[in-house]
Structures are given as C-alpha cells and as structure tokens.
C-alpha cells in the first residue's frame, strides 16, 4: 500500500499543498486524468468524492465485518446449545433443553460484538494505527486546514514543470519535491 511504496529508496515525490476542498478535488481529478501516480492525499477531514478522484477500490472491511459477525453468532449458538443442552442440562420452568428462541438475544449481541470489534481491529492494524506510533505528517497543518497531494514521480518522463503548472491552475499554495521518503 501507500506506506510501503513510499519507503522505496531513490523514489521522488512531488508534494502540492492546497487550502480549499474544491481545489484538492479538482487537482486530484486532473492528476488522475493525466495518468499520474497519486501516492496519497492528506486531508484534515474525509473529503467526499476524493475516493472517486483517486480511483480507490471499495474497502474490503465489510467482508471482515460479515465473516466475523457470522463466526461470532455461530460460535455463540453452539456454545449456548452445548452449555444448556449438552454439558449440564438444567430444567428451567420445564422448558426444552435446547430452547433455541431463548438463545436469540444473546446470539445477536455476541454477533454485533464480534463484528464491530474485528472490523475496528482490522482497520487499525491494516492502516498501521497503533498506540504510540509516531505520525509522519506530509505537511504541517494537514490535520488542521491544509490539503496535500502527493504524486509519485514514476519514471523519467515525469515532467516536474508541467505538473507544477497544472497544479498552479488549481491554486496550489506550495510545491516541493522530496527524495527522502522518510519525511512523508
């Protein structure tokens, strides 16, 4: 993903900073239309439409949610059956050992618990968000009011001046080239 790509040695990046949502959206759209390789965009909030502009594929997290929710529910039904009907059956008000309808509420709760915890865990681990992790900011203020577009200079045909001129038309406030990926 983006992070692993940025740690490649000797790779050059172009960083363009914008101050308005409208500008970053337009610039990202244009960069993608020109076939430039967008490494990432850094924004203070979830800008709607930027995923389409960057051409991101839908997240696979719903599958984690579905699979683990199903696993949690199945496990809980089995557990309730095993404890109530197999391991130590106890007569409660003459109800059948395997009183499935009565197991529904707890099964539902455990399904939600499994689905939600696993989705959040998968998200945090997948995106490398861990306690104590030091944030590497692409540009000061990207968590406040700045929008930064990072384009990877994929090959020798990359024309820095041409791309800069394109970004200028969208009101870029700062452009720089970075070789040291650690700064990203």
């Amino acid at each position: 993903m983006a992070e692993s790509r940025m740690s490649n040695a000797n790779q050059r990046f172009l960083l363009g900073v914008f101050e308005r949502e409208e500008d970053i959206l337009a610039a990202t759209n244009e960069a993608r239309r020109r076939g430039l390789d967008i490494a990432d965009v850094y924004t203070p909030y979830a800008v709607h439409g930027l995923d389409a502009a960057m051409g991101l594929r839908p997240s696979r997290l719903p599958w984690v949610c579905f699979a683990l929710g199903l696993a949690g529910a199945s496990f809980k039904v089995w557990f309730e059956f095993w404890t109530s009907a197999a391991d130590w059956p106890i007569n409660v008000g003459g109800k059948p050992w395997n009183s499935l309808p009565a197991f529904v509420p707890v099964t539902f709760e455990v399904m939600v618990l499994f689905a939600a915890l696993s989705t959040v865990a998968a998200f945090l681990v997948g995106r490398g968000l861990l306690p104590g992790r030091r944030a590497k900011l692409a540009y000061p203020g990207v968590t406040d009011n700045q929008f930064a577009l990072v384009i990877e200079e994929t090959n020798a045909t990359f024309d820095f001046d041409e791309v800069s001129a394109m970004l200028e038309t969208f009101g870029v406030t700062h452009i720089e080239e970075r070789v040291d990926q650690e700064s990203l």
Partner: protein, 454 residues
C-alpha cells in the same frame, strides 16, 4: 444535493468558518484554563458523587435491607434508576448512528457530546443492577466461564442474562464508536499543542494518524459499518430491558407492546437529556455558532415525534388492558390512574404527553428557556414513567392480602443523587479534556471551500 436543504434552512454552522477556525474554536476552549462556573459545577457534582459513594458503600456493607423494598415490591427505586439511565444513553446512539445512516448532517455538531453522554449514562446504569445483586463481588458469576462450581453454566433462557450481554455489548460498542470518531481529532490536538501531558496523551491516543486519505477512506467504511451495527443494537438493548418485565407474569408488565414502547421512551428521554446538556454547553462554552437554534429546533422535532410514539404507547396499553377482558390486567391499569400512586401516573402523563406539545410552535422551539424547561420536565416525566411501570404493577398484585405501599428510603434517594453526581462529573471532565465538537466531522459540513456554496 447538500445545497438544497442549506438553501431552505440556512447554513449548519454559523459565521462562515474555515477549517482552521473550527480547530481554533473547539481546541482553544480546552486550552484555556477552566472557568469559574466549571469549578463551581464540578464542586457540586463531585460532592453528589461522594454522597453516592458513601451510600453505596453503606448499602453494600449492610445489605439491601437499607432500601424500602418489601415482599410485594421487590423491584422499585433501583431498577427504575437502571432503566432511566439506560434510556438516557439511547439518544447518543440515535444521533451518532441512526442519524448518520439517514445522512442528517446537523448531527455532526452534537454527536461527540451525545455519545459521551451515552457512555456515562451506561456506566451509571450498570451500577444499579450491580448493587441490587446484594453481593456485587460475585458479579463475575454473570459471565459464562469454566468454573469450579460444576462447571455450572449461566441460564441463557433468562432475560437477566440477556440484559447482562446487551448492556456490556452496548457499552463496549458505544465506547469504541466514540473512540474511533475521536482519533482524527486527537491528531489535530496533537499537532496543535507544543508540549505537556496533553500532547503526550493526544500523541498516544491518535495512533499515528496523519490524515492520509487512503486511511480516511477505510475509516469512513468502518464508521458506516459501526453505525449499521449500532442501530439494531440500540433497538435490541432496550427491547431486552423491556423483556426483563415482559417475560414475567405480572399484570402491567406482561404485554407485547413493551419492547417498542421502551425503545421509543428511551430515545425520547435521551433526547431531552441531550437537549438539557446541549443548552448548558452552548451557553457556558460559547459554542452558539456550532450548536445553533437550527440544531435545537431539529432535536425539538425529534422530541415531538418520539413523544408522540410514547403517547400512543400509553393509550394503546390502556385500551389493550381494557379490551383484554382480564380482571387483573384491567385492575393494574385502573390502579395506575386512580390508585394510591396515581400522582406518579399523572406526573408521567402531563410531563411526557402534554409538555412536548408546546414544541409544535416555532416560537417555543426558538426560545431556549422554553426548550430548557421542557427538556427538564421530560427528564422528570420519563423517570416517573419507569417508576409507574415498576412500582404500580407490583404493589397491588393478585392477592389483596399482599397489597402494600412503597416509599424510598433516604439511602435510595442518595444513591440516585450519587448517580447524577457521577454522570455530571464525568461529563464536566469530558468538556475540559476532549473536543466537545467533532472537529473533523464539522469541517466536512462547512460551506467554506466549496464553489457551489460561495
């Protein structure tokens, strides 16, 4: 798309703010020293909390014979408080999850505080069944773990066990939902602060968030999934709370209307508590631009809607009882309205059914004093609703020789005061140390930087 409602009702956030200003407005309130009013408020709330701690310690050491319960009325004040607090929490989830699914953008100003309220209310609620156990040090017996008592498993057919799972799941999910929403704002605080323990804490809690849109994209998916999971969860939680009553054979409890009735009542009571807290917060913290009259108006309309559902539920259960041709069922409801505890029934009806009707008028919705008074009255009315359901159904049961009264002892009242102390203390601490407005979410609904709005 977004411009159509904006054209009708004006901007969501007043003052044409830029993203930078939002950060400043919300964070500077935290960076300033606490105001005098905050110190006074926390002095009062922590005194209430201390009173609660002392009385809880006393009743745990002495036993729940310190309460006004008797053979006939085995559930009263304690369970009333439990249901009341759980209900309060539900509005937070409604605002954070249900309104998110319905794309109600005004929720962004309110959701952080409402979710915090949910968490604190669930903490308060959880204390009451714990004390009610009499031996709270055996509370872990509620969990199904291999034990040396057989292993004797818990009874999964019992609504009390369902309740344990529902409340603990609800608390976990609410806390996680709230924290996930906080991560980007913690990063904003981290990058703004120059040093000190606050920066260290923000650094730890922001998990290295750097605003990468690839992360934001997955984050939005997670948020949507959590909202989708929390919505049926919140319905299930109060449904299960109502089953604590509905699965019994007590007239007045054993009705099929109880689950929807409880869910509507929970959201109604929670909304009124959100309004109470919101009106105080906007005034004392200078957040009038973020918590505008439009937000208050929207919440008032939700109060009318949920209040209407509650009113229909009251009427339905009365008619159903009369129509049932069951003497005990009919008596339970006539006893509510005309028996010795009828005052509590009429407090409930006047506060919950009559009071919110004033909000049909626009002048009332835009008068903050009126809204505040209405919200307080509904809080009181909803507490009495639970009292009515629990105590009036029990105190005159099948055998007239069992009939008795119920009055709370000072210990029970002090415990309720203590729970308010805990709730308010936690809320005041939250207001000091956590951004009360979801910074990143509010930035997403500003009109700044979008051509279609300028």
């Amino acid at each position: 798309m977004a411009s159509a409602p904006a054209a009708i009702s004006g901007p969501l956030i007043l003052g044409d703010k830029s993203p930078g200003q939002v950060t400043d407005d919300v964070c500077s309130a935290l960076e300033r020293g606490p105001a005098r009013s905050w110190w006074i408020a926390i002095a009062i709330s922590s005194s209430m909390l201390l009173l609660g701690l002392i009385t809880v310690a006393y009743q745990v050491l002495t036993g729940i014979g310190t309460w006004g319960l008797n053979n006939t009325v085995g559930w009263a004040f304690d369970i009333t408080n439990f249901v009341f607090w759980i209900g309060i929490g539900h509005a937070g989830t409604l605002i954070s999850a249900v309104l998110f699914l319905f794309r109600q953008k005004w929720r962004t100003s309110v959701n952080r505080a409402a979710e915090a309220m949910t968490i604190f209310a669930v903490i308060c609620a959880g204390i009451f069944p714990l004390i009610h156990m009499g031996r709270p040090w055996l509370a872990h017996w509620m969990a199904p773990y291999p034990n040396t008592r057989g292993p004797l498993w818990i009874n999964f057919r019992s609504p009390l066990v369902w309740d344990f799972f529902a409340i603990s799941t609800y608390f976990t999910i609410s806390l996680m939902f709230w924290y996930v929403g906080l991560i980007p704002d913690m990063a904003t605080m981290r990058d703004r602060l120059t040093g000190g323990w606050r920066k260290k804490a923000a650094n730890f809690l922001s998990l290295g968030w750097n605003g990468s849109f690839r992360t934001w994209f997955h984050y939005e998916t997670v948020y949507l999934l959590l909202a989708g999971l929390a919505t049926p969860l919140v319905v299930s939680v109060h449904t299960i709370v109502s089953w604590d009553f509905a699965t019994s054979v007590i007239p007045g409890w054993h009705t099929t209307i109880l689950p929807p009735y409880f869910v509507a009542g929970a959201i109604f009571s929670g909304m009124s508590m959100v309004l109470t807290l919101m009106l105080i917060a906007r005034k004392t913290m200078g957040l009038e631009d973020y918590l505008t009259k439009r937000h208050v108006g929207a919440m008032c309309k939700l109060l009318i809607a949920t209040g209407g559902m509650v009113a229909i539920a009251y009427a339905t259960e009365f008619v159903a009882a009369m129509y049932s041709n069951n003497d005990y069922e009919q008596f339970a409801f006539i006893n509510r309205a005309k028996g010795p505890l009828c005052w509590s029934y009429w407090i409930m009806v006047s506060c919950n059914v009559l009071t919110p009707q004033i909000l049909w008028f626009k002048w009332a919705r835009s008068n903050m004093v009126v809204v505040f008074v209405v919200s307080i009255l509904i809080n009181i009315g909803m507490w009495f609703e639970r009292f009515v359901i629990i105590v009036t159904s029990l105190h005159r049961d099948y055998l007239p020789s069992n009939w008795t009264g119920y009055a709370p002892t000072s210990i029970e009242i002090a415990t309720l005061v203590g729970s308010f102390g805990l709730f308010l203390t936690l809320f005041l601490l939250f207001c000091r140390f956590v951004p009360v407005i979801a910074i990143a979410e509010v930035k997403g609904v500003l009109s700044h930087g979008r051509k279609s709005h300028e």
